[in-house]
C-alpha cells in the first residue's frame, strides 16, 4: 500500500482519572484506508483511547489531529468533529423510542442538516447492504442483538465519517450473532474504510487488520502487521496475552506427547 496521508494522528496522549493514569504518552497514526486493530487485556486503556478520540473523555496531555487539524488545541466544537468520526459502542445504544430508519436519519438530518429524501436513500442503501432493509420501520426492541449492532454501524456510516471507531462491538453478542456483525466490518475494510477497531476476536483481528496495536497498562507495547504479530510477538506481555487464546492448542500438544 502506498503511503497515504494520516487521517488520525495521536501524539503523546495522557489520560488520567484523578491520580490514576489510564493512558500514558501514547502516540499512533491511522492512515487513510488503513485498518488498525487495538488488542490487549481488559483495563489496558484501549476503550478509553477510543473515547478520547471523539471527546467523550477529556485528556490531560498530548494532541489528537484529525486530517491534520488538532481537535484538542483551541476551542473544539465537538459536535462538528464527531460528525467526521463514526463510533459504534459495545452496547449498540440505539434510541429505543425511534424506528430503525429514524435512528439512522437523526444524525444526517439534525446534525448535518441534510434533506430527508436524500438521507433516506443513503440509509436504505446501507441497510440493504447489511441485510436489514426490511426492518427499517421496526423498533430496536424488536431486533436481535446482532441486528441492533448492524443498525448501529449503519447509523454511524450514514454520517459519511472520515474514520470509524469500533469499541468491542461483538462483546455483548451471543456467539451465533458475532459473525454477521464482523462480516459487515470486513465488508467495510474491503471498500477501503479507515477504521480503528478494539476487539477480543483474534481471528477477526488477524483477518481485518493492516496493523495490530498491542496495548497494556495504558501504553503501546508493540505494533506490527498481523501475520508477524500473531506468529512472532516480540514482547513477553504480548506472548502471554496471546497464550490465553491458545488454550485449545496446549491440550493437543499434551495428547501428542502420550
Amino acid at each position: 500500500m502506498a503511503v497515504a496521508r494520516p487521517v488520525l494522528k495521536i501524539t503523546g496522549l495522557h489520560k488520567r482519572y484523578d491520580q490514576l493514569e489510564v493512558i500514558g504518552n501514547l502516540s499512533l497514526e491511522v492512515r487513510k484506508g488503513e485498518v488498525l486493530v487495538v488488542i490487549g487485556p481488559s483495563g489496558c486503556g484501549k476503550s478509553t483511547l477510543l473515547r478520547c478520540i471523539n471527546g467523550l473523555e477529556t485528556i490531560q496531555g498530548g494532541d489528537i489531529e484529525l486530517n491534520g487539524q488538532s481537535i484538542i488545541v483551541g476551542h473544539t466544537r465537538w459536535n462538528l468533529v464527531r460528525q467526521q468520526i463514526g463510533m459504534v459502542f459495545q452496547s449498540y445504544d440505539l434510541f429505543p423510542h425511534m424506528t430503525v430508519l429514524e435512528n439512522i436519519l437523526l444524525g444526517p438530518m439534525k446534525a448535518q442538516g441534510r434533506e430527508r429524501a436524500e438521507a433516506t436513500k443513503e440509509a436504505e442503501a446501507f441497510l440493504d447492504r447489511v441485510g436489514l432493509l426490511d426492518r427499517k420501520d421496526s423498533f430496536p426492541r424488536q431486533l436481535s442483538g446482532g441486528q441492533k449492532q448492524r443498525v448501529a454501524i449503519v447509523r454511524a456510516l450514514c454520517m459519511n465519517p472520515e474514520i470509524m471507531l469500533f469499541d468491542e462491538v461483538t462483546a455483548s453478542l451471543d456467539p451465533e450473532m458475532v459473525r454477521e456483525v464482523l462480516d459487515v466490518i470486513l465488508g467495510l475494510a474491503e471498500q477501503g474504510m479507515t477504521m480503528l477497531i478494539v476487539t477480543h476476536e483474534m481471528a477477526f483481528a488477524r483477518a481485518v487488520a493492516d496493523k495490530i496495536v498491542f496495548m497494556d497498562q495504558g501504553s503501546i507495547v508493540e505494533s506490527a502487521p498481523p501475520d508477524i504479530f500473531f506468529q512472532n510477538p516480540v514482547s513477553d506481555r504480548a506472548r502471554k496475552f496471546l497464550n490465553i487464546f491458545q488454550f485449545e492448542g496446549v491440550k493437543k500438544e499434551e495428547r501428542h506427547n502420550d
Binding site: N54, G55, L56, W78, N79, L80, R82, Q83, I85, G86, M87, F89, S91, D93, L94, F95, P96, H97, L106, G107, K110, A111, Q112, F139, A152, R155, A156, M159
Partner: protein
C-alpha cells in the same frame, strides 16, 4: 330507585354536586399543571452535582412527603393568619398546597426518569454529532417524557382523590356536598347514603377514567 332519584331532584342537590365536581376538577387541574412545571425545574435541580442543591431539594421532598396534607393545609391557611394576619383565599391555599406536594412528587419522578436513562444514550447521541441541546431535545426528553407519563397520570388521579381533605379549610368540594345531602336526606331515607355515595363514586370514576384511558392509549402508542 324512585326514592333515590328524588334525592337528586330535590332542590338544587344535583347542581350542588356538580359545583362540587367543578371545584374538585379546578383545584386538581391547576395543581397538576403547576406541579408539572415546577416539578421539571426542581427535578433538574435534584440531579445537579452541587451538594447544597441536592441536599436542599432532598430535604424539600422528604419534608413534604412525611407531612400529612391536613398539616400542610393548616400551615398555609390557618398559621399565616394566626401569626401575621395574612389571609389567603381557601381555594388558592388548596392549589398552593397541592402544588407543593405535587411538585415534590413530580420532581422525584423527573429525577428518576433522568437518572434511569443509560449514560450511553447521551453518548451515542453525541457520537453522531448532535449538539447538547439536540441530544436533550431528540433523545433525552422524549424518553424521559415517556417514562414520566404513568407517574403524572397516577399523580393526577391521586390529586383528585385527595381533594376531599380541603373540607378542612372550609371549601365545599364534592364529597362534602355529598355528606351534606346525605345528612339531611338520611333521616327520611335509609338508603340515602348508599345512593349519594354511589353517585359520588360514579362521578370520581368519570373524572379519573378518561385520564387512565389516555394514559393507556399513550402507553400502547409508544409500545406499538
Amino acid at each position: 330507585m324512585e326514592s333515590a332519584i328524588s334525592i337528586f331532584l330535590e332542590g338544587r342537590n344535583l347542581a350542588r354536586l356538580m359545583e362540587g365536581v367543578w371545584i374538585t376538577l379546578k383545584i386538581s387541574a391547576a395543581s397538576v399543571l403547576l406541579s408539572v412545571v415546577f416539578g421539571l425545574l426542581v427535578g433538574l435541580l435534584m440531579i445537579s452535582r452541587k451538594p447544597a442543591l441536592q441536599a436542599a431539594t432532598r430535604f424539600y421532598l422528604e419534608a413534604i412527603r412525611v407531612m400529612p396534607i391536613l398539616v400542610l393545609l393548616y400551615m398555609f391557611y390557618y398559621l399565616p393568619d394566626k401569626n401575621w394576619g395574612l389571609h389567603f383565599e381557601a381555594q388558592t391555599v388548596a392549589i398552593g398546597v397541592f402544588t407543593l406536594w405535587g411538585t415534590a412528587e413530580m420532581a422525584d419522578l423527573v429525577r428518576g426518569a433522568l437518572t434511569s436513562m443509560p449514560a450511553h444514550q447521551r453518548e451515542s447521541g453525541r457520537a453522531i454529532g448532535l449538539t447538547e441541546g439536540q441530544v436533550n431535545r431528540y433523545i433525552i426528553i422524549p424518553q424521559a417524557v415517556r417514562r414520566l407519563i404513568p407517574g403524572v397520570i397516577n399523580l393526577t388521579t391521586r390529586m383528585i382523590k385527595t381533594t376531599p381533605f380541603i373540607y378542612f379549610i372550609s371549601v365545599p368540594e364534592l364529597l362534602k356536598v355529598g355528606q351534606q345531602i346525605v345528612e339531611i336526606s338520611g333521616m327520611k331515607n335509609n338508603m340515602a347514603s348508599f345512593w349519594v355515595y354511589g353517585f359520588i363514586f360514579f362521578l370520581y370514576f368519570l373524572m379519573c377514567y378518561p385520564i387512565s384511558c389516555f394514559s393507556a392509549y399513550l402507553e400502547k402508542k409508544w409500545q406499538n
